[in-house]
Subunit: 261 residues, 2 copies
């Protein structure tokens, strides 16, 4: 199954038919994957502004028209109601269901936001010979809430959430060079070295994902993370919201290479 | 005087006439300055190979034809025998004279190498709001011999020499982004953080230049340095060599902006 899912369209079709129901990491190499946030139009303008004001954690790949379940730029033949492996349904900031499609929940006023995902720059790092610890270990990347507030917009506010990858200094310098070419998927790191400078007190206790070891001679390197907009949605407690389940992304038609500047 | 020296040509004319006899730092903003190494043709092929094999410390801006005192690419109306404020003359690796022009020393077999200088990327850093400590303090940049050997070529060999600028992590990340655009003037840093990883035991005792303070929350960031080729020349002890005096560079016609990728 996995071996046949070599394009965004193939992964989406497998999700739509019910054949693929797990994480999308590693599928359709070369195709960009996206975080999904769906909100009622009443909240969409503020959320759009929140993303525009916080482009490092919330880089927008596409925003749909109200009621339109198709992201016309990122995947023009996709149906966002069926084409991800799994969804989370939120009401007033509370998780109320995890479902495999959202056809029955769709509304004419819903707007979908597709937000860039670090899979794209991790692929570029690995291709350039920069090791990525959590990929080596087959784990989810460790993520941490910081003490850095995002710039608020309307009801949306919250801390910057960062992902962490341990690297030797020369690897970290190379990683800055590589990831700075990908502003649409979080771009260059926001910090390296002392975690306390971000208000992070325990690297072995991430707020999301899984901890990874840091070996002698390595320093933690921190990138803005796509969990930031989800945290802002949870804090804002909108009447209704749908997101992807962790790791179960939309695989788009956008090529990683096309997202490089 | 200083205020009128706004182009490479103006600085070179002032050197040629004897009107300018001190350091060139801060002159002709926007024009790239270059390190100078002059060697007999018998040694030039090996030195050229040394530069090609060690492009981060030895980025070549121009190489002259034997006996031609004009760098046709970097400054087509310059005369390298008169257009720098001061020269050092070396015989068998020993400094034998410091002079203000080298017309009487010129030979038909001499080849001149112009090597990129960090002034270009420091100007870019300052323009982008990244502070540069030694510039703030009006000092020469601190430089250190490392335990990293350059790739040898013929008789030329020696350690990588690095310059150091203290920065906060976010500034250092920005500095990687900015300086990686300037491969012709040493490019991105080679290391940041622990100096011992480069074999540097005392940051307050640089091998060249002047020490600068490192403030809380800052880390040392290290770039490959144009003193590296001079150290290789001294180690190789060629029969004859001429270099610029420290800080008294050739100001070229190349624009800093044109050296950015």
């Amino acid at each position: 199954m996995h071996a046949s899912l070599t394009t965004g369209a193939a992964v989406r079709q497998a999700c739509r038919s019910g054949a693929w129901r797990t994480q999308t990491s590693g599928l359709a190499a070369g195709y960009a994957q996206a975080n999904l946030v769906i909100l009622p139009a009443a909240d969409a303008a503020d959320f759009l502004l929140f993303c525009e004001r916080n482009p490092k954690p919330c880089p927008l790949l596409d925003v749909t028209a109200p009621g339109d379940p198709t992201p016309r730029i990122a995947a023009p033949d996709a149906d966002l109601r069926t084409d991800l492996p799994g969804y989370r349904v939120w009401r007033r900031g509370e998780l109320v269901a995890e479902v495999s499609e959202i056809r029955d929940l769709w509304r004419d006023d819903l707007v979908a936001f597709l937000i860039g995902c670090s899979f794209t720059f991790e692929a570029a790092l690995l291709r350039e010979g920069v090791p990525v610890r959590h990929v080596e270990l087959g784990r989810n990347v460790p993520m941490y809430r910081t003490n850095i507030p995002c710039t608020p917009a309307g009801r949306f506010h919250g801390p910057l959430v960062v992902s962490m990858r341990p690297m030797k200094p020369a690897e970290a310098i190379r990683a800055v060079e590589i990831t700075s070419r990908f502003p649409a998927v979080h771009g260059a790191p926001v910090h390296w070295g002392d975690p306390l400078a971000l208000g992070i007190t325990a690297l072995d206790q991430p707020d999301f994902g899984e901890a990874v070891p840091i070996y002698p001679g390595e320093q933690p390197v921190f990138w803005a993370c796509g969990v930031t907009p989800q945290a802002a949605v949870m804090a804002a407690k909108p009447e209704f919201c749908i997101t992807h389940q962790p790791g179960m992304m939309l695989v788009t038609d956008l090529r990683d290479a096309d997202l490089a500047t």
